[in-house]
């Protein structure tokens, strides 16, 4: 958690820009107390002949799908806050390239998740804080 899949036009971003994008994503979640290595961002080039919006081929969109596993936003105010902060990051990286953007987030069960053979420790636990400090999965 979180897993971001970023679908974008061919050659829209250099490797350095993708790294910067993924770094901004990671910082969002680190600010919420999550270990940095929880954040996984995969970039996928989709050519114009394979990318359709409203039935028409496009090469000016970024479409992001996000899975949240470790933390779920329980109430409307929290959901709005999550939406706005994530939206701001995606918009910055889209508009800087003259692209339009869309994203949506799914929330999946925490107990059906594993990193390096371990169930990640409970939210706010000492073990989670240790994982965050050490930035790696440690048996607990």
């Amino acid at each position: 958690m979180p897993l971001w899949n970023v679908y974008h036009p061919v050659s829209a971003y250099s490797d350095e820009e993708k790294r910067e994008f993924a770094g901004r994503v990671t910082s969002l979640y680190q600010a919420a107390g999550l270990p940095r290595f929880y954040s996984v961002t995969l970039f996928h080039e989709v050519d114009r002949g394979s990318f359709y919006v409203g039935g028409e081929p496009v090469d000016d969109r970024v479409r992001v799908t996000i899975d949240h596993i470790a933390r779920h936003a329980e109430d409307p105010a929290r959901r709005e806050s999550v939406r706005q902060r994530i939206g701001a990051v995606i918009q910055a990286f889209a508009t800087s390239k003259g692209l339009r953007c869309e994203f949506h987030i799914d929330e999946t069960p925490r107990e059906l998740w594993m990193i390096d053979g371990l169930l990640p420790p409970p939210t706010g636990s000492e073990a989670e804080k240790l994982w965050a400090r050490e930035n790696r999965a440690i048996p607990y």
Copy 2:
């Protein structure tokens, strides 16, 4: 919403056929009152050595994953109707190529969704109708 990811054999569809496929998908949702630009369809070629069904490599399948965000099918009758109408479109584009097919739909939270920095307007609202008429995201 909706997001369709279509995994298919290499060179199964020409760009023109993909456009037709995406157009049929878009029309399905437009008939339900959704703006055309809500419909995003991404096509992904998967070679035989990377596509397994029942543990065996295949090059005769179309596997579609669908995320529904703007509308959820609440009751069994509605769910069957959604399943049948979507199934008919996918089957038409699979069998025309001698392919077999499978799809499944996930439903994700409407409030965790954004297009061009905006939360899409509520179901059936005047703003949603305007977005549908203008076929673009408009601040409301």
Copy 3:
């Protein structure tokens, strides 16, 4: 169901190894009574410049996303068992290549699922057993 998407470094696995991996996945679900052809495994190469963990580019990870449709794990004990058995398969195929791994599972609605134009038969039904024996979708 199940659908596995396996994101891995370029050339991490040969076609023969992918087949073996998909075979092990399939056997897991067959042991639970599911027809073998329900199991779909797609492998996706992701180059180092497109694969980020904690904001840094990596080429030593396998990231697996899994959708469960036909069966959901209802209680904590069952969830743990599912997690452990799936985790063991993924870890075996990661560590054999010196890779680290992460996976998560989503559970999606059974009624929004179709194979070759058919709604798969109910859990434990005679029709499901027939599908498993014949290893194909049969009108019922």
